[in-house]
Symmetry: C2
């Protein structure tokens, strides 16, 4: 065993401008860093615990969960290890083996995995139109449900990805919420890419359940997630027969450590930043406008309603053919300019986000890309 | 919403000597603190990920899992969010609804919860003798299994708590491993209180599965755990039909963040510290010897083979009767002396550990308690 390799672990790209969409919403503010110093020892959050993580008063976990439910406009909030773990909890608690779950074709791979782990079947709702928009045909939820009912299939859950991780398409969740309600099925909205970035009002969107991701969009160190739900569905939190204060699906306590500390410490920052969502959209549209001028083509809904941008980039593909670094030239040239987060070697399609960057940085990124392409 | 309460989160007892057994093994060394600075942003561990957390080379997750399996003498290692999540994964992957799991009566509440969540039945193996030793009658595993088989019950798993969290009793796991093997059932050893504190050799103990807890005993920030198993049981890690590189029970990735960074950074420290386990036992026995002189009575196996000590403390109960602070006097007096981690108000029984303290600190603790009792 060469133990030296665990000494002085360094994050290679720590000081770069990182355009990876999954990372832009998880950059933590200095408030969270300070709190980390206090609570980095294992189980330190349990100093004043009386048996329930969600009822700890010091640090203020109980208040925090109440404030979070106000922030989301949902009745009850619990902590999970991430969006995926929240989805599994809902599926495992609500559905029985073999049930169908109806979800959008843009659903994250973890939605499929959670269903597979819970031994459920999947029925997909497809697109209004595939290329280049890939907009989910929300009205189709009704038909897919009808078709399943006609075949006497048992439906356990309706799931919608609020904003998907592939195109960054924002869905009008209320439409699906209404369909679910009228059909009498519980509705889970996956807000991994929205809660903490943009304002989300659970009741307005008619969500019965919301999952969110701390490390992805709530400026927290991973892994941590949020599961919010309405009173009517309090059955998810069945308590143990043998240990009546312990909640079964949460195995007693979930996020017992640093990730929760950072989620709490970042909360005031997150509550504030969602107010500036319009400015983030402006930055995003600026990037699209500028890069479409040099031959990038934005996929997904136009104009952008979310910071995740997927570009088709034939121009990069062309350059790759004549560059000796092949597809790696783009990654390489960006890196020279202090920019990372673009998949190395990929030139056909590129995903990026400038969420949370200063306008000067956004301009710097745009100019860097133009320079690389127009060399 | 009063957001001020999340500003400047402080850990009240940060600078005290903490005797809480669940916290002594989770104190992180400075190596881990340094690594935290590098990786505190959400998903930062994913910078160079190609789709599998366990195969990330920068930081060296892949090597780490190999080294961990060598450290535990087990074939395969995966990361979980904690010991309990590891137990649920094993149960959920291996057992079918309604199966029996045979476990020791000192099993942690999370073993029962994991079984309840996986919809399993429980058969308990009791004590050789209850008060004051509470030693598990390991040979009884055979009889309990026979009884279930006679009733035609389906047995899914044999579970033993290596060291339990109530008395700190160390079990001779090999005995149970042999019984499980001879009967043909998989054997899960819960090492939440042992791996990272004392040497554990999975093959020698005949364990098919081992779960361990990073925040509890491996000097890591929570929540994180380890699941180790042998080749023969590689079926736990079924991969998804739809996403062949993603492992279903792990929902793709589990501990995607800071806790893993601290577990890795602390690993050299942990590998080293288990070599000094005998000295920890000496400290523990010294505490027992000294405090039994003033009327404490150690419960559980004697002499101690683990750092968790449970005392019966009639003397504290007596003092509480004549002190105006009632049962809180002990907590209060310890706190004045910079010592925490003893449950406030409790005087009949007291749990403590001096694991990882310097000898001077151990003596200081013993003298402080003597002083409080002999006032
Ligand atoms: C839409 C969507 N859902 C869920 C997830 C997974 O989030 P978590 O890591 O919190 O499980 C992601 C992550 O990329 C995502 O994009
Ligand atoms: C014996 C035992 N098992 C399991 C656990 C739970 O550990 P984790 O928080 O890693 O699930 C504990 C915690 O106190 C324990 O004492």
């Amino acid at each position: 065993m060469n133990l030296d390799r665990y000494k002085n672990l360094k994050r290679q790209n720590r000081e770069t401008i990182n355009l990876n969409p999954i990372q832009r919403g998880g950059v933590i503010p200095s408030e969270a860093k300070k709190a980390i110093y206090e609570f980095w020892d294992g189980y330190s959050i349990c100093d004043f615990c009386h048996g329930r993580l969600d009822e700890i008063d010091n640090p203020p976990v109980r208040d925090f969960l109440n404030d979070l439910s106000e922030f989301l406009n949902m009745d009850i909030v619990r902590l999970t290890h991430g969006a995926r773990e929240g989805k599994f909890i809902v599926m495992h608690a609500l559905c029985k083996e073999g049930d169908y779950i109806v979800l959008d074709k843009n659903a994250h791979y973890t939605s499929y995995l959670a269903a597979e782990r819970a031994k459920l079947n999947i029925a997909e709702v497809g697109y209004e139109k595939e290329y280049p928009i890939y907009k989910i045909d929300l009205e189709r939820y009704k038909e897919v449900i009808d078709e399943l009912e006609d075949k006497n299939k048992s439906i356990g859950l309706i799931l919608l990805t609020h904003v998907d991780g592939n195109f960054g398409n924002l869905n009008d969740a209320k439409k699906v919420g209404k369909i679910a309600k009228s059909k009498g099925y519980p509705f889970l909205l996956n807000c991994a890419y929205t809660v903490g970035r943009m304002p989300v009002d659970g009741k307005k969107l008619k969500a019965d359940f919301i999952v969110a991701s701390g490390h992805k969009s709530m400026a927290a160190s991973g892994p941590i997630g949020v599961l919010a739900f309405n009173e009517e569905f309090s059955e998810v939190i069945k308590t143990s027969k043998r240990y009546p204060i312990k909640e079964v699906e949460f195995l007693g306590c979930t996020s017992r450590g640093l990730p929760l500390i950072t989620l709490m410490a970042s909360f005031p920052y997150v509550v504030n930043r969602v107010k500036y969502w319009e400015d983030e959209i402006k930055k995003t549209r600026y990037v699209v406008d500028e890069l479409e001028k040099i031959g990038f083509k934005q996929l997904g809904i136009k104009p952008k309603e979310h910071d995740l941008i997927k570009f088709e980039t034939p121009i990069l593909d062309e350059i790759a053919k004549r560059d000796k670094r092949k597809g790696y030239f783009f990654y390489d040239e960006l890196k020279k300019r202090g920019i990372t987060g673009i998949k190395p070697g990929v030139t056909k399609e590129v995903k990026m986000s400038v969420y949370g960057l200063e306008w000067e940085q956004v301009e710097y990124v745009v100019n860097a890309i133009k320079e690389i392409v127009n060399r």
